[in-house]
C-alpha cells in the first residue's frame, strides 16, 4: 500500500466496514419492508424490490473487490483481465433462466402422478412421461439404448 499512507489506509478499512454494514442493513430492511413486516399492510412491488437488492449487492461486490482486494490500485490491464471474463456469465444467466422458465411451462403439462401409480407400473398414458405400454418388456430398465439390442436375433443376410 505504497499508494496511500498508513493512516489513510486504516481509515479505508474502517470505512469499508461501515459501508458494507450499512448496505447490508438497507438490503435486509428493504426485504422486510417490501414483504410487509415493518409497516403493516405495506408491500413493495417485487421487481422494484429485487432490482434494488441486486444493485446493492453488486455495489457490495464492487466495494469488496476494489477496496478490500485492492483492485483500485492495480493496473487497468489486471483489472480488465480479471473482470472482463465475467461478462460471459451474462449470456449464461439469460440462457439458463430462460430455460428454467421453459421447464416451468413443461412441468405444468405433466400431470400429477396419482398415488396408486407410484407403486404399480404406470398403465396407459401417464401424462407426458415416456413409458411404453405395460406389456412391453423393453422398458424394464432405464437403459435407453435397449431398443438396439437384438430382440429376436434377426439374422442379417435375408434380403430387403
Amino acid at each position: 500500500m505504497a499508494h496511500i499512507n498508513y493512516e489513510a489506509a486504516k481509515r479505508v478499512a474502517y470505512r469499508g466496514f461501515v459501508i458494507l454494514g450499512v448496505v447490508t442493513i438497507v438490503e435486509v430492511f428493504i426485504a422486510l419492508l417490501g414483504k410487509g413486516y415493518i409497516v403493516e399492510g405495506f408491500h413493495l412491488s417485487r421487481p422494484v424490490m429485487y432490482l434494488a437488492m441486486i444493485c446493492l449487492s453488486l455495489y457490495k461486490a464492487y466495494y469488496i473487490i476494489f477496496e478490500f482486494m485492492h483492485m483500485r490500485y492495480e493496473l487497468p490491464g489486471l483489472v480488465r483481465s480479471v473482470l472482463l471474463p465475467t461478462i460471459l456469465l451474462i449470456w449464461v444467466i439469460i440462457a439458463f433462466f430462460y430455460e428454467g422458465d421453459t421447464w416451468f411451462h413443461w412441468r405444468k403439462s405433466v400431470q400429477e402422478i396419482p398415488a396408486e401409480m407410484q407403486l404399480a407400473r404406470p398403465a396407459g398414458n401417464a401424462g407426458l412421461i415416456p413409458v411404453q405400454s405395460a406389456d412391453s418388456t423393453e422398458a424394464q430398465e432405464a437403459v435407453p439404448a435397449d431398443s438396439s439390442r437384438p430382440a429376436g436375433q434377426v439374422q442379417p443376410g435375408h434380403t430387403h
Binding site: 498508513y6 426485504a31 482486494m69 480479471v82 433462466f97
Partner: protein
C-alpha cells in the same frame, strides 16, 4: 551496451518483456486467476439454482424459512443471517488490517489481525453449524424433503398445528408454511380454499433444500479451508520466515485475496438465498 541504449531511446512499456506487465508477482496473478475460475464454479451453482427456481411453480419465502434465533426465538426474519454476514464483513476488515500491517513489516500487528480474522471465520462456521442443525433437527428440512411450502391460493385452515397455526386461521396466496412432524409422522394441515375445496399442505420444491445445503455447504467449505490456510500462514508469520523473504508478507496478501473472495461469494449467496 546496445540493449540498454535501445531501451533508453524508446519509452518502455510494461509489456516489453523482462518485467511484470501488471506490476504484480506471478503468485498474486495466480491467486487472482484462481479466484476467477472459482467464481465460475460458484456461478455454475448459483445459476443452476436460478434455473431450477425459475422452473418451480412455488418457492419458499426466505424470511419465513430463516427466522429462528438461538434460544428458541422464532419469527425474527433474517436477523441471524444478517449477524452472520456481519461476522464475515468484520473478518474481512481485520484481514485488510493484517495486510496493511504486513506492508509496514509489523510482525506483531499481522499476527494479531490474522488471529482475529481466524476467530471471525470460526464464529461464522459455528453460526452456520447452528443454522443447519436447526433447519435439519427442528424443522426437518433435509436435502430430500423440504417441508417449507407456499400457498398458491387463499383459504382457511381446518386444523391447528400446535404451534403458530390455529384452526380457522386465514391465509393469503404467497404465504409460506412449515409442515411439522408429530413423532415420526408428517402432519400436513388441511385447509379450505376460497372456492370451497378442501386441500392439504404440500411439500415445497425439493430442490430448495438440496440447493441450500449444497451451496451454503460449498461456501462453508471455502470458509473452512480459508481458516486452515490462515492458521498455517499465521504460524509462518510467527516463526518469522516471511520477514526474511524477498517478497516479505506477500503470502498474507494472497491469502487475504482468498479470504475477501469468500466474503464476496457470500454477498451473492446471501442475495439469492436470503433476500430474493
Amino acid at each position: 551496451m546496445m540493449t540498454t541504449d535501445q531501451t533508453q531511446q524508446t519509452p518502455v512499456s510494461n509489456w516489453e518483456g523482462g518485467r511484470e506487465p501488471f506490476k504484480a508477482s506471478y503468485g498474486k496473478l495466480m491467486m487472482w486467476y484462481f479466484l476467477l475460475s472459482d467464481a465460475f464454479t460458484f456461478a455454475g451453482f448459483l445459476i443452476s439454482y436460478g434455473a431450477l427456481r425459475f422452473s418451480s411453480p412455488t418457492w419458499p419465502v426466505p424470511d419465513f424459512v430463516f427466522s429462528s434465533l438461538p434460544g428458541g426465538i422464532h419469527h425474527k426474519p433474517l436477523i441471524f443471517v444478517t449477524f452472520m454476514t456481519f461476522v464475515l464483513i468484520v473478518s474481512s476488515v481485520t484481514m485488510v488490517r493484517a495486510v496493511q500491517e504486513g506492508h509496514r513489516y509489523n510482525k506483531k500487528g499481522v499476527a494479531l489481525w490474522m488471529t482475529l480474522t481466524i476467530v471471525g471465520g470460526l464464529i461464522f462456521l459455528a453460526c452456520q453449524a447452528w443454522e443447519w442443525s436447526t433447519l435439519m433437527g427442528k424443522e426437518h428440512m433435509t436435502i430430500h424433503v423440504n417441508p417449507f411450502g407456499t400457498h398458491i391460493e387463499s383459504g382457511t385452515y381446518l386444523d391447528g398445528d400446535g404451534h403458530d397455526v390455529q384452526k380457522g386461521d386465514q391465509f393469503t396466496a404467497g404465504k409460506s408454511y412449515l409442515i411439522h412432524k408429530h413423532g415420526d409422522e408428517w402432519a400436513p394441515l388441511r385447509y379450505q380454499t376460497e372456492s370451497g375445496e378442501i386441500k392439504q399442505q404440500q411439500f415445497g420444491p425439493k430442490a430448495f433444500g438440496a440447493l441450500f445445503f449444497f451451496i451454503t455447504g460449498f461456501h462453508g467449505f471455502h470458509v473452512f479451508s480459508g481458516v486452515v490456510f490462515l492458521s498455517i500462514i499465521l504460524v509462518n508469520v510467527l516463526s518469522g520466515i516471511y520477514a526474511n523473504r524477498k517478497n516479505h508478507y506477500e503470502m498474507v496478501e494472497k491469502i487475504g485475496l482468498y479470504w475477501h473472495f469468500v466474503d464476496l461469494v457470500w454477498v451473492f449467496v446471501f442475495l439469492v438465498f436470503y433476500l430474493l
